[in-house]
Symmetry: C2
Subunit: 338 residues, 2 copies
């Protein structure tokens, strides 16, 4: 088969790779129905995160079970499944506390931008749908694998409750689905920070009540103005830079909650400054597996349409164009169909 391999900055190739096969009895191999490019893929793509030689890419996936190892009990060939970008046995203490993305047996999936994918710990990582979904639901189901699960975790970790005033920093797909998640959790006011018209539009469609275009001190001042000088109850940091982190922390009221869900790059928090802001801080790799059953149900019941973040759809062999479109911010998120 052929799959995506990153060779260096802005050099993604679609090339021959060995077909995956069952290695451990707890593995499954799935035939990908759809995969996509993640904002986090752009860090190494842009050369801002080093790689050790040619690196197979992709960690968001859904599709049909092709084959399972002898120990796999919860999924079987032919079923449609979605899995988390982080594998988990779903039984260790960290999993039981709901932090499956810190499972003691965690591996981060890579190689999903391909027609076939080996998934370790299939029983604890994959969730089957009740029946084979119609094709138009596939994009939304794909989002539950990472980008929606991550936006949902952002809202949950920021303690969004009915009536909350919420700020979302970042208008990438995670931020937009953070808006959707906050709305689902009953937020009363959702302020999206965005400078891009098409993203502002989708943010409003997903439930944003206000848009703030300023950043830095001006952004904080505008948030304070919109919240009667108090600051927001919950702020979702969906970027991962020093600027966005400070933006989030300084937009939050004392006693409020900041979540951060993008791998921080170059972020250093001054303890003394953080102390006097009085905020709660929580984040990390989203425990997508915790949310998968509920999010899949919301998609299948037609309650949410997270698949709208895919504004570019490409055949898998044009994966390099998917990276380019996202890098140049021509696309919010690129869906790839094998």
């Amino acid at each position: 088969m052929r799959g995506a391999v990153l060779y260096g900055p802005r050099d993604v190739r679609f090339e021959e790779r060995e077909d995956p096969k069952i290695i451990e009895p707890t593995d499954a191999v799935i035939r990908i129905a759809a995969t996509c490019v993640c904002g986090s893929d752009l860090w190494p793509y842009r050369g801002l995160q080093s790689i050790n030689g040619p690196t197979p890419m992709g960690h968001e996936y859904c599709g049909f079970v092709e084959e399972v190892g002898t120990a796999v009990k919860s999924v079987k060939p032919g079923q449609f499944v979605v899995g988390s970008f982080a594998t988990s046995d779903n039984t260790c203490p960290h999993c039981q506390y709901g932090y499956q993305s810190s499972c003691v047996r965690r591996e981060f999936v890579t190689r999903a931008q391909a027609p076939l994918l080996r998934v370790p710990l299939a029983d604890g990582t994959l969730v089957p749908t009740p029946s084979v979904p119609s094709d138009d639901l596939v994009p939304s189901l794909l989002t539950t694998s990472d980008v929606l699960g991550t936006g949902w975790f952002a809202a949950d970790a920021a303690n969004v409750k009915p009536g909350s005033t919420v700020v979302v920093v970042g208008d990438g797909a995670v931020g937009l689905l953070g808006v959707l998640s906050a709305r689902q959790m009953g937020a009363e006011r959702i302020i999206g920070m965005s400078r891009h018209e098409s993203r502002q539009k989708l943010a409003r469609e997903y439930g944003a009540t206000d848009i703030v275009t300023e950043r830095g001190d001006d952004g904080v001042a505008h948030i304070k103005e919109l919240t009667k000088g108090i600051g927001a109850d919950s702020v979702l940091e969906c970027v991962g830079t020093q600027e966005s982190m400070l933006q989030a922390i300084l937009s939050t009221r004392p006693g409020g909650f900041v979540s951060y869900v993008g791998v921080p790059h170059g972020v250093e928090l001054n303890g003394g400054q953080l102390f006097f802001t009085h905020v709660h801080l929580h984040g990390g790799p989203a425990p997508v597996r915790r949310y998968l059953p509920a999010l899949i149900a919301l998609v299948l019941n037609g309650k949410i349409n997270p698949g709208k973040v895919f504004d570019v759809v490409l055949p898998l062999d044009q994966v390099a164009e998917g990276y380019r479109a996202m890098d140049e911010r021509r696309a919010i998120k690129a869906l790839l169909r094998p």
Copy 2:
């Protein structure tokens, strides 16, 4: 009157100062029954925090109302009161959310190591006892003003619940009262980190079930060993250094809670490292006013004896010896009686 003034590193003088008086109609002046030296006083005392010229010291206090301004309604002369080290109107939005130490009108009290103290925002800052307490309860009541309120906040901010496994980093008075607070909140296991025999003894008396003497990587390894490799549910960071902060974060299980309540000095948190620990982080100046009524009741009902942290009692005019004893770790905490 005479009161404590810090002139520079290890130079505390007890010298003539002007008597405080009512300035704003919302002020009260109280006659101090007892005051004390705080761990945070040691930062400037040791020259690790700069001061702008001679600085009157002290922010923990209880005593009798001497005089009130014309707008004060909730306390009257003759009443025994305890107040927070941070003043608050107790009505602004931050106060209503329970973060009185971030009140929009907050001032940090200083000048309490003296016979008389002016307290701004008396209605929102002071809490009277139902009647004049017996003298033997004064030390414990004094702790509610800061050190117990701070230990209590540490346990609360670290989400201590019935059955929790808790680690307390730091065996100063705040850490010891963090142990007491965790026990009151129903923690099942409380691991105190301490190298000092007298402090270990008091930690055990307050409810510590285990003592860990190692620090750094060895300390983390010992905590992991005691928690079956999982890490603690809740870790109270009661020191404020880079070492203690990392000790706390790395001793916590993914999804667990770290609180930090001492003003961080020289603490820088790497965003990427924090991200993958998956911890919740919350802290800041303790909103003592939120807890004062409940903590005063626990003391008056004889449920707790936090006053035991005072292992040195001195007349106020020997305040310099109080600082010396704490600086040299001969004393856990020094009580001062005018």
